[in-house]
């Protein structure tokens, strides 16, 4: 099929650059400069899809972002995109598109039976029908969604990458039509930093679709080109085309979606496909233009029925005649320009049907003087044609336009251009909480008030004439720049002259009457994408809905992906008429971002795969990898979990690692522990307040264990703190809590205890920490240092010293998390790898065994040491843990008062116990619930749960820790763990310390 609807010349397409593409498998041709929609129309194709609910044939309706019908599935495989507006898709060589929501084909769609059944499917149909039985809703929903689907999301991995960026500017101008270009020019001339955003591939806005417009006596597009050239030359101006301002948020934060490669056949791999711009603009100028409104009449949805302005754009910009024989149906003067342009291009104008009894205005006069057939005071009352409009029925309106009089006449056509007026695109203004009001003269909602640093110019402001757009644009750009703090005056140039015609005068018609009562014998569509009719709106009102927000939700009008860009104002008008209330009182529904859909990929950007989240690695990480460690994530840290040898599973490896620590020597990378340097004359006082126990009398060179509570009295962290000097301590925190603990302490210092001389500095990453544990720990360490006295008297358990280890300056803490004799060696992090390797080499004679977090957990559980976050969950107090011994009764500390709350004193709080299964071989799953008595079936009252559970190689049996109601007073009693597999495991509550309760091993 050749492009028989293409004009031989004119338009902004490149006839020397033909393109091949496929639509629903058919090979077609278009040109560079086409959109998919214009190329389809040039081939005479209007039918592009089926409607959402009734599966009625639908055609291309608009020429822009407001398109409700022409949504296509673009591309194939992993590069496929659903719900793309054919009106915005730039044509490229080899493009493949197909219709959505139809099966088996757009020409023959089985679900079109829904249209015949529509009498039985009023608004609310799904809610009313599928509510019973309630449990079936999920199944119903699946079937309904399948039948009413839009496009299909690709399932493969995204072959492209997307990116995100921050940006700042003085003035952000949204829309590069005449008003936006003018605003950008005048702002740029003050020296302001300007970002100009245009969703189209080129700047010019509505001017691109108009013929014969002049600016300053020259063709308007010459002015556009000159404006663009000046902006490109300006130092601090960024023009972003193919970019949509999709959301306008608080504090003048505006989201932009830039499409970098969608128009490139083979996008280069180094370029992102989409870029999300997060813009902070000092001032925003909205020059977003206006969107034409259709008329609501019977069977107004057939392919071949289009917005008048769109017909004009296809003709002038793309050199495409949308039909050979056109009827124009309008209520305003501006629409006549379409008829005039079409006629000039050789399209037969079969009729101009005008609801106005006396058509006035410059365009109407031109049409009349050209002899075009005008039917004043008439309306279209019906259409026929299955996959393309074939004929319209035209009848005379009565005086007030509420009914028809006399016989209808039939006129053949293949194109019906409609216009019901224009709506300013106030979406972004409204998202930014700007107010709009209904303007009776212009018959639409116009901006009234802005709530942020927002300015509005041109058609978006209700100023539809070209001269007004330019004047307002130039003035607004300068005002915005000034408000952004630019003092230099815009190098003012005279605003060029232009005509100032608008689409007025007009006669507002919300619902065009027809020969039969509403809802009988045809449908008056209000929202084409959601298949909502005028009858649906009236039904909602009859059923008692009054608020526009409720009517919207009940009927789904305006709830499609187009958000009712073409339909909403008509819906409001019809509702107002039905309720007999002024439109201003009915109001509008909320405008929400995004203005047009944004791909999820753009929000994800490059935060995927390895870059999704930082993986923090210790200085010794490379060694662990080479040693074959398996890792576990602890917060953002990646720590060795265990080091399996050939043939070992988790249990075997952990059993070996644990045994090595108890019998000879183990080593663990403890670099991830939080370390905070605390300095100042009041450091001890500060620790007294932060920790539950007392710190003033801790000797220099000694360490102490501390528990930290939140203000609610619950355990938030624990760790060992060493006194390095009179006024200096080094605190350690749990790995995952380091940042939170520092923040907690800084908050108290900066807000509550500003009088304290205390300075906190995080030194977590300054040191690599190598922890030796086992009976041979001292022997090895003594071989690696010549200046540290290691005898039990010189460096007893819970003592600290400094010296060199493996010739590197080191801090050595004799502290233990395993219950064995243990030394934590801290060296500057850049030496971590070297010292670690030295330790491993020197330790060979003791069969030194690197162990991971799993073995560490077993070792500490054997000793009944808690892990904050495992034995505690934010609802556990020191008393619950049986750790009153670390809670001072004499001093105040954060959380103390909360510990006296009545709820904290209840005897049946969940408390920490050891748990031994009666069968020593059974290892309980962590998280297992505990019950007093096992019933045959759930539910049964639960009295607690298992927090830690391991097979202990040293004890030759399983051990567990658990939180059990009133557990501290119940040691020795038996409770039960009913498991998911049906087993019921009897267990005995015990003291949580299973090994060496006297601590002889760790003091040795």
């Amino acid at each position: 099929m050749s492009q028989r609807y293409r004009l031989p010349d004119g338009g902004r397409i490149d006839r020397t650059a033909p393109l091949n593409f496929r639509f629903n498998g058919t090979a077609l041709r278009g040109y560079v400069g086409d959109t998919l929609a214009s190329a389809l129309l040039s081939n005479g194709i209007h039918l592009v899809g089926r409607s959402f609910k009734y599966h009625r044939p639908r055609g291309i309706f608009s020429a822009g972002a407001e398109e409700p019908n022409a949504l296509v599935q673009l591309g194939t495989g992993a590069r496929s995109d659903p719900n793309m507006h054919a009106t915005q898709v730039e044509l490229i060589e080899g493009l493949k598109a197909r219709s959505q929501n139809c099966w088996p084909s757009v020409d023959f769609d089985i679900s079109a039976i829904n249209d015949r059944l529509s009498r039985f499917m009023p608004s609310g149909f799904y809610y009313k029908t599928f509510m019973w039985p309630a449990a079936f809703w999920m199944r119903y929903e699946y079937i309904i969604r399948h039948a009413a689907g839009l496009g299909t999301a690709p399932t493969g991995r995204d072959p492209d990458y997307n990116d995100k960026t921050f940006a700042h500017c003085d003035v952000l101008v949204v829309g590069a039509g005449p008003a936006g270009l003018a605003a950008a020019l005048s702002a740029a001339r003050t020296g302001a930093r300007v970002i100009l955003v245009e969703q189209d591939a080129e700047v010019g806005g509505a001017l691109l679709g108009l013929a014969g417009e002049k600016i300053g006596g020259k063709p308007a597009l010459d002015w556009v080109a000159a404006a663009r050239a000046e902006l490109v030359e300006s130092a601090d101006v960024r023009i972003l085309t193919r970019t949509t301002a999709y959301g306008y948020f608080d504090h003048n934060f505006v989201g932009l979606l830039e499409r970098l490669t969608d128009h490139i056949v083979d996008p280069p791999a180094h370029l992102p496909r989409h870029r999300l711009w997060k813009v902070r603009a000092k001032q925003v100028v909205l020059a977003t233009g206006a969107i034409e409104r259709p008329l609501v009449f019977r069977d107004n949805d057939r392919p071949g029925i289009m917005l008048a302005g769109a017909c004009q754009t296809y003709l002038n910009r793309y050199a495409v005649k949308a039909g050979q024989k056109a009827v124009l149906f309008a209520n305003n003067d501006g629409a006549y320009a379409t008829a005039n342009d079409l006629a000039a291009a050789g399209v037969k104008i079969a009729a101009i049907v005008d609801t106005r009894p006396n058509p006035e205005g410059p365009h109407s006069e031109r049409a009349e003087s050209a002899g075009l057939p005008v039917l004043a005071g008439h309306a279209i009352v019906g259409t026929t044609g299955d996959k393309r409009v074939r004929q319209v029925r035209i009848a005379r309106l009565n005086d007030d336009g509420s009914a028809i009089t006399g016989e209808a006449q039939e006129v053949d056509c293949d194109l019906l251009a409609v216009s019901g007026g224009w709506n300013p695109a106030v979406h972004l203004l409204s998202q930014a909480r700007g107010k709009i009001r209904f303007d009776e003269e212009r018959g639409t909602f116009v901006p009234m008030q802005t709530e942020q640093a927002t300015h509005v110019a041109g058609a978006c402001n209700g100023s539809f004439g070209l001269a007004s757009c330019l004047t307002e644009g130039f003035a607004t750009g300068e005002t915005a720049a000034k408000a952004a703090g630019l003092s230099s005056k815009s190098r003012r140039k005279k605003t060029p002259a232009a005509s100032n015609e608008t689409f007025l005068p007009a006669r507002w018609t919300w619902l065009v009457p027809s020969e039969t009562p509403l809802g009988r014998g045809g449908k008056h569509f209000v929202d084409l994408q959601s298949d909502v009719t005028a009858a649906d709106l009236k039904l909602a009102i009859r059923e008692g809905y009054r608020s526009i927000e409720h009517v919207k939700r009940y009927t789904t009008t305006g709830m499609g992906t187009d958000q009712g860009k073409t339909g909403n104002v008509n819906a409001i008008g019809i509702i107002a008429d039905t309720l007999d209330r002024p439109i201003a009182e009915v109001g509008v529904t909320t405008f929400r971002p995004p203005y047009t859909p944004v791909t999820f990929g753009a929000f994800a950007g490059r935060d995927v795969d390895d870059l999704l989240d930082p993986i923090r690695k210790t200085p010794m990480h490379g060694w662990h990898e080479r040693a074959g460690a398996l890792f576990e994530d602890v917060g953002q840290w990646r720590r060795p979990w265990y080091y399996p040898r050939a043939g070992e599973d988790l249990h075997k490896a952990v059993a070996r690692e644990v045994a090595a620590v108890r019998t000879s020597l183990g080593v663990v990378d403890a670099s991830t522990l939080g370390k905070i340097d605390i300095r100042g004359k009041d450091a001890a006082t500060f620790l007294n307040r932060i920790y539950t126990n007392a710190w003033s009398k801790l000797e220099i060179g000694k360490c102490r264990y501390g528990l930290m509570l939140g203000e609610n009295g619950m355990v938030m962290d624990d760790g060992v703190t060493a006194r390095l000097g009179e006024y200096q301590f080094l605190m350690t925190t749990t790995t995952g809590n380091a940042a939170a603990v520092l923040q907690h302490m800084e908050e108290f210092l900066q807000t509550e205890w500003t009088d304290l001389d205390v300075q906190l500095t995080s030194v977590t990453e300054q040191f690599a920490t190598i922890s030796l544990a086992g009976p041979n720990a001292r022997r090895l360490l003594s071989e690696m240092t010549h200046d540290i006295e290691l005898s039990p008297n010189a460096l007893p358990h819970m003592a600290f010293t400094e010296g060199t280890v493996a010739s590197v300056p080191a801090r050595v803490f004799r502290i233990s998390f395993t219950g064995e004799m243990s030394y934590e060696i801290n060296v500057p992090a850049s030496y971590g790898m070297a010292v670690w390797q030295a330790v491993l080499t020197a330790g060979e004679r003791y069969d030194i065994t690197p162990y991971g977090t799993e073995a560490m957990h077993v070792l500490r559980a054997e000793k009944g040491y808690i892990i904050v976050g495992q034995e505690t969950d934010g609802s556990v107090t020191p008393v619950d843990l049986g750790m009153d011994w670390v809670v001072s009764k004499k001093k105040d500390f954060v959380g103390r008062r909360s510990l006296a709350r009545p709820d904290m004193l209840k005897p049946d709080r969940k408390q920490l116990v050891g748990l031994l299964t009666d069968d020593p071989q059974v290892v309980l799953p962590e998280g297992a619930q505990l019950v007093e008595r096992a019933l045959p079936n759930p539910p049964m009252p639960m009295i607690g749960y298992v927090t830690s559970s391991y097979g202990s190689p040293n004890l030759g049996r399983s051990i567990a820790l658990a939180l059990v109601k009133g557990g501290l007073a119940r040691k020795g009693e038996t409770i039960f763990a009913p498991l998911a597999d049906g087993r019921v495991v009897p267990c005995t509550m015990t003291d949580p310390v299973f090994l060496d309760p006297e601590g002889e091993r760790l003091r040795g």
Partner: protein, 207 residues
């Protein structure tokens, strides 16, 4: 004297020299690791004029008190990080560079309120220069880096992608930025920067 060869920078294992990826022959960005700087965290009350004077004479220049500014001598660079917090950065790479500066500052501070903490090993420094350096940083940093707002000599604590950094514009010529990152995040940040730079073309240089 500690053996220098025992030290390993946080990015050494990546083998940066082999990772350059010139795209289309262009190089919008050049990056390098500048390891082993001396970094000393200094806390002192800015209204303690005696302490400030003592520190000034120890350093040879006054600590910057304007937010997000730096001051420098040939041997040391001071970053304003907060109303009572500075970094004193020395070029290194001698292992004693940071500890020696810490001793100097601690001696100057005597027993006055404040704290001097050597944090040299906790960070590494990444240098980013080239015509697209600013665009690269803007991809992950919410600060406005326009020369009017963030001129040469400025420093700031912010985040880049998902990690905290200290950023320093050392010269508008280039421009050339340096950023300091915690060593455990360094690999993530370097890989993030490499990935972000792919559309500009990247040169990786030795320090």
């Amino acid at each position: 004297m500690v053996e220098r060869y025992l030290r390993q920078s946080p990015l050494a294992h990546l083998g940066l020299d082999g990772r350059a990826q010139a795209v289309r022959g262009e190089s919008g960005v050049a990056m390098s690791e500048q390891p082993f700087r001396g970094i000393v965290n200094l806390r002192v009350q800015p209204d303690d004029s005696e302490a400030m004077a003592a520190l000034e004479s120890a350093l040879g220049f006054a600590l910057p008190v304007e937010p997000n500014t730096t001051a420098a001598s040939a041997t040391a660079l001071a970053f304003w990080l907060g109303p009572d917090e500075w970094w004193i950065v020395t070029p290194g790479p001698e292992p004693e560079s940071g500890p020696n500066m810490a001793v100097t500052l601690r001696t100057a501070l005597t027993d006055r309120r404040g704290a001097v903490t050597d944090v040299s090993d906790s960070r590494t420094c990444i240098r980013i220069s080239g015509p697209r350096a600013r665009d690269l940083l803007c991809k992950g940093m919410p600060l406005d880096l326009h020369p009017r707002v963030f001129p040469s000599g400025c420093c700031a604590q912010s985040h880049l992608a998902k990690t905290g950094v200290v950023l320093h514009l050392i010269a508008e010529d280039g421009p050339t930025f340096e950023l300091y990152v915690l060593r455990s995040f360094a690999e993530y940040l370097w890989l993030w920067l490499e990935d972000a730079a792919r559309e500009y073309g990247l040169t990786i240089t030795s320090s």
